[in-house]
């Protein structure tokens, strides 16, 4: 799906759409760099997912979420719920890029006493709203937060990043029904569809398609985009604003390892092992891709 370059500037700023796209591509590049640096600390992990979802996180944190990086507990903040706790490495990279945690702290990732455990935990990390990891929890908590915020007259949004694997969990669909039934248009679900889960390709583990039709049937406003296409993400998210009386879902098709050819072609990609000598190769490949603008 392509987006038009005539789309508007960000509300409240003078920034043009092209400037937004350029800025967010830069952010996505730095999120990927941070993820590779953190991955090297452990030598393995959910690096492929972090690279795949970097553009989505860049657009959310750099453009969509109303937050105060120096005050992560601000009452009026848009809530970002990472129900896929194993994507913590990606979230930390985005938090650092957004200024919520210092970049220098990323090197403690997954180490004893660090605020950045390998699986995301709310009590450890500023900006981490929930402890995900047991999948299918995020959208239920989002439902309650959205009901509560609306009840309290707080205009903040609740954004839940979930994965296609989480759609296996029945609790996700309980929450999808509840959000639609209660007309929670302050909920935005973002589904990272990388078509891969622990036991193999999603199509073979438990078929989730057709996703657009499923969410629509549950009463949601749905957009589906290439999740590695920054202009497409921006265009869709600009359309999915509150005020419609229905919750919104953005389905993002992403590629595991995106931006690093060495890792895009890995056979065992769900939980990736990267050899010590490969990290610098990966960084070099990422830099080259970013410089040549081979993004979208």
């Amino acid at each position: 799906m392509s987006s038009t370059t005539t789309a508007g500037s960000r509300p409240g700023t003078e920034e043009s759409f092209t400037e937004r796209v350029d800025r967010l591509r830069g952010a996505a590049y730095r999120i990927r760099r941070h993820a590779l640096d953190m991955g090297e600390v452990q030598g393995q992990g959910y690096i492929g997912q972090a690279l795949g979802v970097a553009d989505v996180l860049a657009v959310l944190f750099g453009d969509q979420l109303n937050q105060r990086p120096d005050d992560p507990g601000w009452d009026g903040r848009d809530r970002f719920l990472l129900s896929i706790g194993h994507y913590a490495i990606a979230a930390y990279a985005a938090f650092a890029e957004a200024g919520i945690i210092p970049v220098a702290e990323l090197e403690t990732y997954g180490s004893d006493e660090s605020r950045l455990p390998m699986s995301a935990m709310a009590s450890y990390t500023p900006g981490m709203e929930i402890s995900g990891g047991s999948l299918g929890h995020g959208l239920g908590v989002a439902t309650g937060m959205a009901l509560g915020l609306r009840h309290l007259g707080n205009p903040a949004r609740v954004v839940n990043l979930l994965s296609d694997g989480e759609l296996d969990e029945g609790s996700t669909w309980e929450a999808a029904m509840a959000c639609a039934h209660h007309g929670l248009d302050n909920v935005l679900a973002v589904v990272d569809v990388n078509a891969l889960q622990a036991d193999g390709p999603t199509a073979g583990v438990l078929r989730t398609e057709p996703l657009v039709e499923k969410w629509e049937a549950f009463g949601w406003t749905v957009r589906r985009v290439d999740g590695n296409d920054v202009p497409a993400l921006l265009g869709a998210l600009d359309e999915l604003r509150p005020g419609t009386g229905a919750p919104s879902v953005l389905i993002c098709d992403t590629r595991i390892g995106r931006g690093v050819p060495l890792l895009e072609t890995r056979e065992k990609a769900h939980f990736m092992r990267v050899e010590a000598h490969e990290w610098q190769i990966a960084r070099d490949q990422l830099d080259r891709q970013h410089e040549t603008g081979a993004q979208a």
């Binding site: 809530r79 929890h137 239920g140 908590v141 309650g144 009901l147 509560g148 707080n154």
Partner: protein, 330 residues
């Protein structure tokens, strides 16, 4: 075949209450207590998973419709949503049947509510053996499941007096709680004793030289009845009521057990993993060697039927407790 009239059968539909015939009761004490509390505290909200009418939540719903959230027959999202409501500053009471809150939605109770230490109050109706509907609805192991959950406060009230006092106490407690709910026409018993519900505290309702019954939930009512009956046989029975299962009032339990009296625990729950095992642990750890017995449900899936029949069969009726004490003293 036979020409004589068939005897009228006792059915579970006819006899679904554990209250004795003619016993003083109070209607929907939980619903009324919650509605009254919400008058004073605007942050109180209620949730139900399609069982508002059957968990006395309908009283709150009628009084405060804008603060009631129906989540449908979906216990996982109900507990997740309760966590979300608490995260933004509200104080939820989420009610369903105990079996669904524990067996079905435990991961959500544990990770969404208890791990972040939220002030969410999970209210489970039909605890232990309080329905004749069979194992699908009998939460005979809810305490065993939940006692393992860190930082969860667990209350097993005896009657309408306990429930009315527990509701504001649970809302005041800054952390997750689980209330074993007695619903509908709930017996009123404890107002005849010098007693006030206090979260985390056990209370000696009766003193006695021969036997001490350490009881919780509706079994305290039965323990008191049994103690009264045994007076005629010159058996002097003390009753220690333990409405808070967790945190347990260890000092009161150890003090009650540290005598040469017969000690019996009484609970409306399987003898596995409930009050009996908790008391046994505390007594053993305190180094007390005493005769200890457990009155509770057997380690099996129970039958369907009328409650009085089942309570008698499985040893929870007053008759059964009296018989058990006499047998133990013989």
């Amino acid at each position: 075949m036979t020409t004589s009239a068939k005897p009228r059968l006792t059915t579970s539909a006819m006899i679904a209450s554990f209250a004795d015939p003619g016993q003083r009761t109070s209607p929907a004490p939980f619903g009324h207590a919650l509605a009254a509390l919400a008058e004073e505290r605007p942050e109180i909200v209620g949730l139900s998973a399609d069982l508002a009418k059957y968990t006395d939540m309908h009283v709150f719903r009628a009084a405060h419709p804008e603060r009631f959230f129906q989540m449908g027959m979906a216990e996982q999202v109900m507990l997740g949503a309760a966590a979300g409501l608490a995260e933004v500053g509200l104080v939820p009471f989420a009610s369903t049947y105990s079996v669904f809150a524990t067996r079905r939605a435990y991961d959500f109770l544990c990770l969404d509510i208890a791990e972040p230490g939220l002030n969410v109050n999970v209210v489970g109706a039909l605890p232990g053996l309080t329905t004749g509907y069979g194992p699908s609805h009998q939460a005979t192991e809810d305490l065993a499941i939940l006692r393992g959950c860190p930082d969860l406060t667990i209350v097993d009230p005896c009657d309408s007096v306990d429930i009315a006092a527990a509701v504001p106490a649970l809302a005041d407690h800054d952390g997750p709680t689980y209330l074993r709910l007695l619903r509908g026409q709930v017996p009123t018993v404890l107002d005849e004793y010098d007693y006030r519900f206090e979260l985390g505290r056990a209370a000696e309702l009766r003193t006695g030289r021969d036997v001490v019954l350490i009881s919780t939930g509706l079994m305290t009512m039965r323990a008191l009845q049994a103690a009264q009956r045994l007076e005629a046989d010159h058996v002097d029975v003390a009753v220690l009521h333990v409405p808070t299962i967790k945190p347990l009032d260890r000092d009161a339990i150890v003090a009650a057990a540290d005598t040469d009296r017969l000690v019996l625990t009484c609970e409306n729950h399987t003898v596995i993993g409930g009050l009996g095992e908790a008391v046994a642990t505390e007594i053993a750890l305190a180094g007390i060697g005493t005769r200890l017995g457990r009155i509770g449900l057997p380690d099996e899936f129970l039958a369907a039927g009328a409650l009085p029949t089942l309570h008698d069969r499985y040893g929870l009726s007053t008759d059964a407790i009296v018989a058990r004490i006499k047998e133990s003293l013989a």
